[in-house]
Assembly symmetry: C2
Homo-oligomer: 494 residues x 2
């Protein structure tokens, strides 16, 4: 129902100039060399899952779509670029008249994805397809990083809700705003970030800070005032002075004196410091003895998936978690290393695959215009493998499918009784948006379902099973031929 | 000269709703309890320097000022808040008519600062002073984190310029935009982020990506085209295929064939992968032998302060560094833990100091309305110590000053021949902005000078000397008396 509030906030920002300067010097170069309309194909993909996890959750597609829809150089932008004395007048005129005409495909948000899969594929005039590199990477890298981290934390918490509390420690305003969005996609139940609720219709919640308690002469008075004000949703922060000696007795007193006569039950108590296991066990006991078995215990003190698993294993009595800085910055591994690589060009409508060589084997790219196919078992509906194939390849699902490891090619596996699903969807057709983004809460639900289709071995925190991401015979052969060709050209030089 | 481009970009964004929801539930509470105009004092401070460094560089004050200047709830905001069914109609009317009336002080950007020092102090009606918590923390935490990290990296690079290249891996758009700003404050020479140049008049630069090279049939042709286009600023990326066998020979060939006949000298070559020490030594030798002793070597491959120190010690031949993901996310420690705590209230114009107790000694706050005094040696002009004092305290610089460790109080030091400087300046007087922000390049210059006033022992990377941040006698005594008072109140309960 909040959707009516979204429009203003989201339409006003034009991020066209958020671009690495070299995209512009190259753009000027493509223009000058008559190459601007050369058709190029780029893939955005990543090489490894953060925190040695088994999969990532892709996120940020909606913002990518908004960015591409809003691409436009203002007079101000052109004046600024002119002042750099780097660009030709003709190129600046081209930017003034800029019109986005690319095709764009992406894996919809919430999908579990794996290394080397093209999350975004762009086809179009190289001057355009190159220009949008910075924002594609920035947008998808950031939200995928946070959704993936949130998903780890939420899995550790099991059925207990996880609230995103990190705005104050986020890396910049959008780190908070879109970080909260990605956290919900990853599985969080709510956020403290109000503007994200307004923009994305995701539930924002909050109660009190220590300063509320400090402002009153006594902790008891501060609790009393709060209970009078919010009898239907009374959560008290009990660690301003001393949890056991002061906080919990005062809370129980207020529940008894204020809520009980009103016929209301307390919602919860929150603890933000100290030994979680010890304190929650004591609090649970004291609450139960006072007749408040239904009063929830909320914890929020520099948590992450490891601490959550630890304290739950130790028998801590916790009903929900507020997770801040370690989620909103993905502290344990705060960089998502997505890259954007040229994989093909067109010469007279013929697709010419391109490869990026590297002495580091992992950095060699998969050439050509490709798509991803996910193979599911017909009986269990579990995902068996992903196959990266050339875009024009078709899979005959009625026949057995043999997949093989792209490095150790003798490792082969025959799949029967399967069905296949293409992962990418088209976002833009010749520059026109053709995709309707689902709501964030729909994406969250979708994501949960898709993750449930992974075997539990892939979900494991420690040393998860490496999900199969193989290449089709055709793609594998193409890659080998390009590698041999380049090796040969060096041999000739030696 | 670019300042004329800034205005539009910076004025359009109203971040009023970027606020933790609990600031609003508390605001509603202060309003309901008749406490909204109660005068409160809050300090923003941090507890430890990231990466075990000796100091931080404060940044973000200009954005804090813009935020406070733009505070305003739109009709949309109010409609949204109403839909939450949490706030009284009177409180919503108060927000509709919201007018900021606080006093705000801050340490100007670029200053080296230390744990427990109030970087920002707010005095005003508690409902307002509380509301701005989220944005004060978010703004100053983020930019201080990045400026501090950039400063470490730039110190490792010594006189060699460091370029900020991290936009694509930043945590959200503002992570890139304001991260670039903070990186310049910390000492970077330039950024790849175009919009940051436009907004803050900081130099944006860039050359080519691997895709430029890949688009041509041969590396040689791609270099030739570039040199023809940018003969005055020709930097070639030489690692698309093979640096030694292909990249550097092709670059030299193009310098000879294209630039030399035009009477131009090459600007540089860039290497983005591989063994930096080995490759740069080889490239230097080949360039020198070809007569291009002045051609610079630029390196850009997952760098940070440790790798930069290492390769320079190994004799790598590098003229400048492009630093990306490890700077823009402060990867080694991506959270800056600034906090915002109630330190006093006023009762009938009398200041009543407040303290936050914790079983963790470091988390106990310094109570009262305070300021920071930095003590300099009159002869060397080096900074000797900082003193946190009550706001009404005056220092008689003609008399010796005895400072003492606030925990081990027997550790005392007598200072003579010194002068003192107050660090905080006033940003807002009763809600009116009274501070003119310097430009980013001015802040960068100022910061360099202030860091030069620290002893080299404080600048050390490993185990730096802990700079003295002591409390005045009065403040120390006040803190002790509040601690004893609270301890006593628990004893009575036992």
């Amino acid at each position: 129902m909040n959707n009516k509030f979204n429009f203003n906030v989201r339409e006003q920002r034009n991020l066209t100039m958020l671009v690495d300067f070299y995209e512009l010097t190259m753009g000027n170069g493509y223009f000058d060399k008559g190459l601007k309309d050369k058709i190029a194909y780029f893939d955005m993909f990543f090489r490894r899952v953060p925190d040695s996890g088994g999969y990532c959750i892709v996120a940020g597609v909606e913002q990518l779509l908004e960015y591409l829809n809003n691409l436009k150089f203002t007079d101000d932008d052109i004046d600024y670029l002119k002042s750099k004395n780097t660009f030709s007048e003709e190129f600046l005129q081209y930017l003034r008249d800029f019109k986005f005409t690319c095709d764009v495909w992406a894996v919809p948000e919430g999908n579990p994805v794996f290394p080397n899969e093209p999350l975004v594929t762009v086809r179009g005039p190289v001057i355009q397809a190159q220009f949008i590199e910075t924002m594609i990477l920035l947008t998808v890298n950031h939200q995928t990083l946070i959704a993936t981290k949130a998903n780890r934390i939420c899995r550790a918490a099991g059925d207990r809700p996880v609230m995103e509390f990190g705005s104050r420690r986020a890396q910049g305003y959008d780190g908070a705003i879109y970080g909260a969005r990605a956290a919900i996609i990853g599985g969080c139940s709510s956020t403290a970030c109000t503007i994200s609720d307004k923009m994305f219709n995701i539930p924002a919640i909050g109660t009190m800070a220590h300063s509320w308690v400090q402002l009153f002469d006594t902790e008891y008075e501060s609790f009393k005032s709060w209970a009078e004000l919010y009898p239907d949703n009374c959560v008290l922060l009990i660690d301003t002075y001393n949890v056991i000696k002061s906080g919990i007795p005062n809370a129980i007193k207020v529940f008894d004196e204020i809520l009980k006569p009103m016929g209301k039950r307390p919602n919860g108590i929150r603890i933000d410091s100290g030994d979680i296991t010890y304190l929650t066990k004591h609090c649970r006991q004291m609450l139960d003895e006072a007749g408040y078995e239904d009063c929830k215990i909320v914890i929020s003190n520099s948590l992450d998936e490891h601490i959550i698993r630890d304290v739950l294993e130790q028998g801590a009595c916790i009903d929900s978690f507020g997770v801040g800085e370690r989620l909103i910055t993905a502290k344990s591994e705060p960089v998502f290393g997505g890259v954007y690589k040229l994989v093909a060009i067109e010469n007279n409508s013929e697709i010419i695959p391109k490869i990026k060589i590297s002495e580091n084997d992992e950095k060699i790219t998969n050439p050509g215009f490709k798509k991803i196919i996910r193979i599911f078992d017909k009986t269990s509906h579990k995902a068996l493998a992903d196959l990266i194939v050339l875009n024009n390849e078709k899979l005959d699902e009625s026949k057995p499918l043999t997949i093989f490891d792209p490095v150790h090619t003798w490792k082969r596996k025959k799949l029967k009784n399967y069905y296949a699903k293409e992962l990418q969807v088209q976002l833009f057709k010749k520059g026109k948006c053709v995709y309707d983004c689902p709501s964030v809460l729909e994406i969250k639900e979708f994501s949960k379902n898709e993750i449930n289709k992974l075997w539990s071995e892939v979900l494991r925190f420690e040393n998860p099973h490496s999900y199969y991401v193989d290449l089709s015979e055709n793609l594998w052969a193409l890659k080998q031929s390009l590698l041999h060709k380049y090796t040969k050209s060096y041999e000739l030089q030696d």
